[in-house]
Amino acid sequence: MGESTTLFRAYYAGLVRYFSGAVGHPETARDLAQDVFVRVAAASALPASDEGKRAWVFHIARNIAIDHHRRQRLRQVEPIAIDPAAGSENSADTALFVNQALASLDDLARDVFLMREAAGLSYAEIASVCALTPDAVRSRIHRARLQLREHLQRPLAAARQQPMRAGLTKD
C-alpha cells in the first residue's frame, strides 16, 4: 500500500492532466486517474526503476483511456461544438478550444502529445508505452503540435502577446 501511495502522490496530477486532454471532461479525468491506482494497487509486482514505474503507470492509463473512448463511441456521444474563431480570452473558453483541438487529433497523436505535454514523459518513456521508436515519438509529437497550431491560431496569437516561458510548468 505504501508504494501505491507514493506513486499516487507522484503521478496523480500528471494523470489528471493526461486524462483531461484525452477525454475532455475534468470530473471524468479525475475518476479515470483514480481507476489507474485501483489497478496499480491490485498489481502483484511493480517495475524497479522510477522510469519503468512511470512508463508502466501511463501504460495502464493509456489502456483505460482507450477503454473509455471505446465505451463513448458505443454510446455515440456527440462532442460539444465550439467555434475557435470566436477568439474569447476567457480561460474556460480556451480550455474548451484546447479540448476541441485535442479531440481533432487521432488517438495515437493525442496520446504521445499529452504524455509529453501533460505528464512530462520523455520520448523514450513514451516510446515504451506506445510501442514506438523515440524518433517516431519525436515526429508524431511535432506533427500533433503543427495540427494544434492550426486549430488554435487565435489563442496562440493572444498568448504571444504575454511574457512566455519555454519550459514545462512545474506541478
Binding site: M1, S4, T5, F8, R9, Y12, A13, V16, R17, Y18, F19, S20, G21, P26, E27, A29, R30, Q34, V36, F37, V38, V40, A41, A42, S91, A92, T94, A95, F97, V98, N99, L114, R116, E117, A118, S122, Y123, P134, R138, S139, I141, H142, R143, R145, L148, R149, L152, P155, L156, A157, A159, R160, Q162, M164, R165, A166, G167, L168, T169, D171
Partner: protein
Amino acid sequence: MHDVISAFLDNEPFDGQELSTALATPDGRELLLDLIALRAVVHPALSTAVPAGGSARRPRWIWLSAAAVLVALAAGYQAGRWSDRGAAQVPGTSASGLSAPPAPTSEFRFEPGVNWTDASASGGT
C-alpha cells in the same frame, strides 16, 4: 522537417546544426514562438481538472481497493459455506462433518483350520 524544434523544447537530444538551420528561416522562428505559446495555452487548460492542492485529494482508489478485498473475503466465506453444505448432502456423511466408513463392495471370510495355501485341496494345478 522542423521536429528538431520540438526536440529542443522538450529537452531531448538534438543536432545543433539541424536546429541552427531550422531557426535560420523566419518560418522556423515563428514556429518556435508558436510552439512555446502552444504550451502556454495547453498546459493551463489541462490543469483546470487537477484539484486544488494537486494530489491532496482523498484517494478513492484506497477505498475501492479495500472494498475489493472485503468482497473477495465475503466471496471466499460464502464459497466455503456452500462447500460445507454440499458435503453434508453426500450419502454417508453426517451433519457434524464426520464421515462414516463406506459400505463394503465385496467380503472375504477366513475360516480357522482351512489350509488356503494348499492348491490340491481346491482342485488347482
